[in-house]
């Protein structure tokens, strides 16, 4: 195993250039170093002007997502040694506007996320004196997979549909909507359906399936979307044949 590896890092400094350029750095490559360690080495020892996001370094915060050798990855969970002898090409997440170097604007995702109300909606809260909302392990299992989403947006970077049509609400927002739709304590499914059943909602998805492959938490957003398509179709048929409800 080589003791050093070359990083080719995308740079975009709007005050200097109008296109992405690449700077190359040589960094140590011990077997326990991830791509983020390499970037931190560059930032601390070689070039302090490099801009990128990171926080927890343990696959929880979802802020260090970047494109590594063409694939969307959490850089805190992507080992440099796996790319030996290199070079390792590090670029910003695809499909998002680049603010600087490896930092992208996530405002579009944040606005879409709020639209699907990713929290438990209750029509009426029960009084505290009645205790907590109990749930069986089977009821929790229904949504638990989708609750693993860490909002890292790798699925948006992997989705060609989002790249072609930025109005598409996107994989993570739909998976998180399903996380609450499938929660037996929630009563907000009808409110979410207004957003999800639009053309830019679930029907924008053509099931490429790349979101599920890219997800570092095995959330399976593609599965969530297809399941919701089935739900929306059944609800649509119900409203057609039973317009006054059943």
């Amino acid at each position: 195993m080589p003791d050093r590896i070359r990083l080719q890092v995308a740079r975009y400094r709007p005050e200097l250039e109008s296109e992405v350029t690449f700077d190359e750095y040589e960094v140590p490559c011990p077997k326990d170093w991830v791509v983020l360690d390499g970037l931190n080495h560059v930032k601390d020892r070689i070039d302090g002007t490099l801009a990128y996001r990171w926080s927890c370094r343990m696959g929880i915060c979802g802020s260090c997502g970047m494109t590594v050798n063409g694939e969307p990855k959490l850089t805190c969970a992507t080992f440099l040694a796996d790319y030996a002898p290199g070079p390792v090409r590090v670029e910003p997440l695809r499909n998002f506007p680049v603010i600087r170097d490896l930092v992208v604007d996530i405002g579009d995702f944040m606005r879409k996320l709020v639209k699907v109300k990713p929290w438990i909606v209750r029509q009426a809260e029960k009084p505290l004196s009645e205790g907590e909302y109990l749930q069986t392990p089977e009821q929790m299992e229904e949504y638990q997979q989708f609750s693993m989403c860490i909002n890292c947006m790798l699925c948006y970077a992997a989705c060609p549909i989002y790249g072609l049509d930025p109005k598409f609400i996107g994989p993570a927002a739909i998976a998180l909507a399903q996380r609450y739709n499938l929660d037996n304590r929630d009563e907000g499914a009808a409110e979410r359906m207004e957003v999800l059943s639009e053309h830019e909602g679930i029907w924008g998805c053509t099931f490429v399936g790349e979101c599920t492959k890219a997800c570092p938490k095995n959330v399976d957003p593609a599965g969530a979307i297809q399941r919701y398509k089935l739900t929306a179709a059944v609800e649509s048929m119900k409203s057609f044949f039973l317009p006054r409800g059943a």
Binding site: P14, P97, I99, G107, G163, L164, G209, G223
Partner: protein, 138 residues
């Protein structure tokens, strides 16, 4: 986060990504996806072909003979050979995708995805066996 905030949809200094027209050639999985989407045209062709066959059968022996002669022309043979490949590809990729969309419960327990997949293949084999029996045994 209103539209007037710093994260507004447009900012003059942000670099906008451009998706190439040929994005589907950039990764093998994207190409497989596009081929899967294109396979629906071949499925449609088989439906049309079947409808023409029914019309020919209903038209009597001469019409049926004419249909068989037309079906034996090289370009129809080639088209049907390509169609068989694409329809099989369509079925396999559809079956692969089905367990993600179908969540079944039996006796309060979720049916494992490999059983959902196996059910689809079993139905395919059963339907093919019936067709074979109709063609050869009946």
């Amino acid at each position: 986060m209103g539209d007037g905030h710093v994260d507004a949809a447009y900012h003059p200094r942000w670099l906008r990504p451009h998706v190439s027209t040929y994005w589907w050639l950039q990764k093998p999985s994207y190409l497989v996806f596009i081929l899967r989407e294109a396979s629906c045209m071949f499925v449609a062709w088989f439906v049309l072909y079947l409808l023409w066959l029914i019309r020919a059968v209903a038209g009597g022996a001469p019409a049926y003979r004419q249909f068989l002669d037309w079906s034996a022309t090289p370009w129809v043979l080639l088209l049907n050979a390509v169609t068989v490949v694409f329809v099989a590809f369509h079925a396999v990729t559809f079956f692969q995708a089905a367990p993600q969309a179908m969540v079944l419960h039996v006796g309060g327990r979720r049916v494992p995805t490999h059983l959902v997949l196996a059910g689809h293949y079993a139905a395919w084999v059963a339907a093919s066996a019936v067709v074979c029996w109709l063609l050869t045994g009946a």
